[in-house]
């Protein structure tokens, strides 16, 4: 697609030239490291106790007690940091006027959006890849089932893809990066916890909100279950918000 490669490369450059990426990346890795350490320390305490009680030892499982909580914690940290990475994408272009330059080059708007979207996703995948070091470390000292690890990371990437698409959309709505980040965080949190009203509403609405909940669709991945319905959910979620961003940019052009 015309212009995609140029926009993708420029976005990658913008990320690595910006202090925001290094600050956000450092906070992400410190927090994920801290959560991993607490889970591992707890696991080591339980395994020590289990060593004295063989019956309890059967329930001690590295995947259940360290890997799964790590993914749960990572998803929460991503919820906090993705809006900080996406806030710049279109809001900065609009504020600086570079969007005029970009959209008067012979590039398709979709190529611009996909270039920005995939560059941000790749940056998050890089950050997630660093957290894999934690799992390699514990695999040296215990038995890790790699299936749920891989499915967990697939879930993380798919969920991050959804987060980025929503962040891209909120970044298109305003010239102010802070506003874009707050809108993005609010909307993501809403999609995260929307399932909570499922238990108190009727069965019809309950089913709908449960389907919309990001948390509900992440759960199977962290347990090692790859369900096509969950994959499609995140895929459609991303597609929907990229489409919405495209339409929003068009509507803005018409209004001038």
């Amino acid at each position: 697609m015309k212009g995609f490669k140029a926009v993708f490369k420029r976005e990658m450059y913008a990320f690595f030239a910006s202090p925001v990426f290094y600050v956000v990346g450092t906070i992400f890795l410190i927090l994920s490291g801290y959560f991993f350490y607490t889970s591992t320390a707890y696991f080591s305490l339980i395994s020590f106790q289990a060593a004295q009680n063989p019956y309890a030892g059967q329930q001690v499982n590295l995947n259940e007690m360290v890997v799964k909580p790590l993914f749960d914690d990572l998803s929460i940290i991503l919820l906090l940091i993705v809006p900080l990475l996406t806030m710049r994408l279109l809001a900065e272009e609009k504020k600086n006027g570079t969007i005029e330059l970009l959209l008067t080059y012979p590039v398709r708007e979709l190529a611009v959006l996909l270039g920005k979207y995939l560059a941000t996703l790749l940056v998050i995948v890089l950050l997630l890849a660093f957290t894999a070091v934690n799992i390699f470390v514990i695999s040296r000292f215990g038995v890790v089932d790699w299936g749920p690890v891989l499915s967990g990371y697939s879930g993380m990437v798919l969920m991050a893809a959804g987060f980025v698409s929503l962040g891209l959309f909120t970044s298109a709505l305003t010239q102010n990066q802070i506003v874009a980040a707050i809108l993005g965080f609010g909307a993501l949190l809403m999609f995260w916890i929307i399932g909570w009203i499922g238990s108190v509403s009727g069965p019809g609405i309950g089913q709908v909100v449960n389907y919309l909940s990001m948390l509900e669709h992440l759960e199977p991945f962290t347990k090692g279950v790859l369900d096509s319905r969950d994959i499609m959910y995140y895929f459609n979620f991303s597609l929907f918000f990229i489409f919405l961003t495209l339409r929003y940019l068009d509507s803005q052009k018409i209004r001038g």
Partner: protein, 314 residues
């Protein structure tokens, strides 16, 4: 190269431009003038496909801006008014990005960047971060990115703003040389710049075209009388009286200053009495040191056209 027919653009219920029609041929440098809010930038944004039009037609190199937006953008080099640039990039990296975004082939990119850097005088700052550059260098970089793919049509919005006088002369010369083989629309508030670089001017006011012509034709149309300035060595009062009484002279004015007397004489524009006037002065035994026509400046033409426009056009 550029054809605009009854172009209209509304922002909500407010018309920004109404029924604009003009055409610009290949190798023509045309100045686009108008007061603030006249619709210049809107027109340029429609031509660059950044804004959609409400009605009418606009074609660039035969491609319709609404139907063949990508093709139109391939023909264009555009320098927006505020010169937006990615400030975290270096000059070379930014030009490389712009060349890639313009769809240039890998082999063409490097020579094209070198040429743009040379033409716009960016050698000294090629490795510098854009955010650290002065306004003048940013302006030149904006122009360099517009020239990258050697586009047949250049749309330049205020190209010399922020440049020092020497750079202004260089960039104007560059625009003139580029205009030999390209079509250029140059929007500017600096009227001498337009008269020096452009073959024709389009003056718009309140979203409508007020005039399209060469500067000399516009001046001739608007000028109601011919003004001649004279420097005469002779007795001041007598000279002034003789000038006033000379047949065909409408108005005479003496300019204050040291040295020989300077006079401004206004005569009917269809009746050239300059030769008679010269003979009469010399015949009196006075010294005619200087005689020259004083043309209306583009500023005067512009102000006259824009203020003559009736108020109910929008």
């Amino acid at each position: 190269m550029i054809e605009v027919e009854q172009l209209t653009k509304y922002y909500g219920f407010l018309p920004a431009i109404s029924d604009l029609s003009f055409s610009i041929g290949q190798g023509e440098v045309v100045g686009f003038l108008g007061p603030n809010g006249a619709g210049k930038t809107t027109t340029l944004k429609i031509l660059t496909c950044f804004l959609p039009l409400t009605s009418g037609k606009a074609r660039v190199n035969g491609w319709d801006v609404s139907r063949n937006s990508l093709k139109v953008r391939e023909q264009l080099g555009y320098l927006p008014e505020s010169v937006p640039l990615y400030t975290e990039m270096t000059v070379e990296r930014f030009l490389s990005f712009a060349a890639q975004a313009k769809g240039m082939g890998t082999r063409e990119i490097k020579p094209s960047i070198e040429k743009a850097i040379d033409d716009c005088g960016l050698q000294k700052v090629r490795g510098r971060i854009i955010g650290h550059l002065s306004k003048g260098f940013k302006q030149r970089l904006g122009l360099a990115q517009a020239l990258l793919n050697n586009p047949p049509v250049l749309i330049l919005d205020e190209p010399t703003i922020g440049l020092d006088p020497a750079q202004v002369v260089e960039i104007r010369a560059l625009i003139r040389s580029l205009g030999q083989e390209r079509t250029i629309i140059l929007s500017s508030h600096i009227l001498p710049e337009v008269s020096q670089t452009c073959q024709r001017v389009i003056i718009i006011n309140r979203g409508r075209i007020v005039a399209i012509d060469t500067v000399s034709n516009l001046t001739a149309q608007i000028q109601t009388s011919r003004k001649v300035h004279l420097t005469i060595q002779g007795p001041g009062e007598e000279v002034l009286k003789a000038l006033k009484l000379h047949p065909g002279v409408l108005k005479t004015e003496e300019k204050t200053g040291d040295g020989p007397g300077k006079y401004l004489v206004e005569m009917d524009k269809d009746q050239d009495i300059r030769a008679d006037l010269a003979r009469s002065i010399i015949g009196q035994g006075w010294g005619l040191l200087e005689m020259g026509s004083q043309e209306l400046s583009l500023e005067e033409v512009f102000v006259q056209l824009v203020t003559e426009e009736p108020g109910d056009t929008v």
